[in-house]
Symmetry: C2
Subunit: 473 residues, 2 copies
């Protein structure tokens, strides 16, 4: 048996260290068909065991890839045969909910949906919500700085974390779990671990910020005939709902058609021939008044021509139907194999950018689909691009069409999904060589042997363990 | 002439390098009576000049202390005779306001109030507001992660910065000014420069996030008879105003009395014998409806005994009078020389903590004043402590009474003011040795010669330039 694995078994106990088929029979990710390749998969039961495991791995220069719910989309949790996977699945306790401080102390292996439900049971709200809620873990959400549908109001995960406990590559514990809203006593260390995809430390526990639970939900679905009017609508809704605009989800015509045309289950609530549609949500304090407010705002927008058609959900069931359209993203698979994207830019650049991507796709492929939708309130667009056939070469050409135009407008190749291996070749589109060099400097400072998720996001050539180059070459 | 100064004059031009009386005649801070001690004060006109200056200083191991408006409260911008001050005063342009993206691109030397006014003129809001608004600069606000009265809704400065340009000690430019709300393309480097008090880089420009300007302002002032009811009130207001609660400022009886008793200008809007008072503000969309909402919430709170008295401002003038009480902090000077504090903790620990500090003050000094107020919505308390006489030894004993009880409850010695030199001796109250070691590791990685604001926040003993030890010994 591998010496490192034997040492880990001694320290953690044999049951906490899976090897062989117990590892290789596990799926590599819920969107993937392959299985985990790793010499061992650790299931530590405590922060102390995470420390022991990392100390051992660090001493041996052994690469370690932290695993949450494996719902990521950018190959950030992928392991190779020589890696060790460190799953947080056995650390899944909700340790405390405080309704006065409106905080929750959780282990990083807790599944997001359990956190949402526990908050709800306590009369509070944990606002993070995304498709993977039933499988993804809060540790993974924090490591990737997850976004979702409510960023326009509540921010990303970065804004929901009051305290963090993380273990550095050498086993050092960095713990700040007091859960204060304000703390300017020195550098805000937790920021480094949020969104760094497990490459600077392994997150073991967190204090989450909870919010008062809204007492009303008002959902509208509207159509506009020009992109510029979408921008006006966003401003009007943000201003008119003053603090209560909770989602502003845009759909281009091609997204709307595919999710409201059989075999998709939803029927179209508005005619299918408008260029743009928006799903708007208000979470507020008083159902009747909030519904009236939305109605009045929409009436003004109709009068002024800012929107051309609208429907306001009058029941919970109608509300769910509107959201079901937005959530039925998998309809795009009807178009055959393709690529999903998660890009961001200033809202003022959005229209010209989408036009440019379409022009490049047309030039490059002739016939193509570019299904377009996203969190417009945050400047975040998603695409599904399909061209009738699929190969790594085709994928690269599609990526070029989508990513290259971002350079001129200062957009980002990743709004909320992260970088992992998938977007690493394109990082230079939105990060300067000096920024990447500074990321490398940080990586060297925190993980000098480079054992933590090596090769993801960036390569760091001059550190001891450069697995990354092997994986990405 | 000093060799470094000569070199700087050659690179920046003589007018951009002040020496001698031109430096020593400048005040060291708006709350201080001494003047700037430094071998030179630089006034670079561009980011490129900041880079040149830092390259030269780094080559010589020359300490550099960035200067904004010098309104800080924790001795973070203090210089000694061997230091060079780098003032951003000549970089004071507002470069762009974008009303669609709701962003503003500014040089770091722009005074906060100009930013507020420019946002207002564009029909938008930059929500940061604090007493030093007429003198403090946005670069200083960002370097200290400033807070203020509206954190409960809009967060701290960290939440208002979409992009940052900073220069590292060696002159490396780290620029990310595209101004996106979401960007998960690698490590979020700007977080390191926010709140690190100029010790990791010099901030030169920023993209600020602006908000839609509220159309209503509703201000109430209420009294409660128990601390526990303050907690209930906070939850009720947060829930009832659903996204529109913009300030929740608590005053203990002793603060209220001193700001409503002559020679203070304000007359008491409520009787002076309640134990606690709260200033509550709603910024919303519709004056009449929002006023009615606040009135209804207050009526319910009165009915349920959550509050015992209340007044609702019925005009802009009344609103200003209520805020004038809160802002008239300088009345505390009537109590003689003393110390101001800025601590934070979970709201659920607040009452027992204040009791404990009072007990320690009584035990240590017999007769004392501990004027107590703060941003309760954020768990942030301010004290003014005075005991009839003042000396460094007395100051230390007061600090011990205030800071030591924070250790047991995981509170912070600095909620929003920062650490500087003043709180450095107490940092260990709220940061573990491993956390401080990680801060040192970061400092070494970004500023290996230790030239940037050395000795502030932390000492880093094993780096080349350890001015800090000299200053703090």
């Amino acid at each position: 048996m591998d010496k490192v694995v034997a040492e880990l078994m001694g320290a953690l106990g044999e049951k906490q260290v899976l090897t062989g088929d117990a590892v290789h029979s596990r799926g590599a990710g819920i969107w993937r068909s392959d299985t985990i390749q790793a010499k061992a998969l650790l299931r530590p039961r405590s922060t102390e065991q995470v420390r022991q495991a990392l100390k051992i791995c660090n001493a041996h220069g052994q690469s370690v890839i932290a695993h949450g719910g494996l719902t990521g989309l950018v190959e950030s949790a992928i392991t190779a045969q020589d890696d060790i996977a460190l799953s947080l699945e056995a650390m899944d306790k909700i340790e405390e909910i405080n309704t006065v401080d409106r905080t929750m102390l959780v282990d990083s292996g807790v599944v997001l949906q359990r956190i949402q439900e526990a908050a709800d049971d306590a009369g509070l709200l944990f606002p993070l919500d995304l498709g993977g809620r039933g499988s993804c873990t809060i540790g993974g959400n924090i490591s990737t700085n997850a976004g979702g549908n409510r960023v326009v109001r509540y921010g990303m995960v970065r804004d929901m974390v009051l305290g963090l406990e993380a273990v550095l590559a050498d086993g050092t514990l960095v713990s700040s779990l007091s859960g204060m809203i304000k703390n300017n006593a020195g550098y805000d260390l937790k920021q480094m671990f949020i969104g760094s995809e497990g490459s600077l430390g392994v997150i073991t526990r967190a204090v989450l910020r909870l919010r008062e639970k809204p007492k009303s939900e008002v959902t509208a679905f509207v159509a506009t005939d020009e992109f510029e009017k979408l921008q006006q609508l966003l401003k009007r809704m943000d201003s008119g709902l003053s603090g209560r605009l909770t989602a502003f989800e845009v759909m281009w015509n091609n997204f709307y058609r595919i999710v409201t045309t059989p075999p998709a289950k939803q029927t179209p609530p508005l005619a299918q021939d408008y260029p743009y549609y928006v799903l708007i949500e208000l979470l507020g304090g008083e159902q009747e008044g909030d519904q009236a407010l939305m109605e009045a705002l929409l009436a003004d927008c109709l009068d002024d021509g800012v929107i051309v058609d609208a429907v306001l959900a009058s029941s919970g069931a109608q509300r769910q139907e509107l959201w079901a359209m937005r959530d039925d993203v998998e309809q795009v698979q009807r178009l055959g194999a393709g690529c999903t994207f998660d890009v961001s830019m200033r809202v003022s650049h959005m229209q010209a950018y989408v036009d440019e991507v379409n022009a490049r796709m047309g030039k490059s492929f002739g016939d193509y689909h570019l299904i377009t939708f996203g969190h417009m309130g945050d400047g975040n667009l998603h695409f599904y691009a399909a061209v009738g056939s699929y190969s790594p070469e085709i994928r690269h050409r599609i990526e070029a069409a989508v990513y290259e135009p971002l350079a001129a407008i200062g957009g980002s190749v990743s709004a909320e999904h992260g970088v992992g291996l998938e977007k690493k070749p394109w990082l230079g589109i939105c990060r300067s060589p000096d920024e990447i060099a500074l990321m490398q400097r940080l990586k060297r400072a925190l993980d000098p042997k480079g054992i933590l998720n090596p090769g993801k996001i960036i390569d760091v050539e001059d550190i001891e363990h450069d697995k990354g180059k092997l994986l990405s070459d």
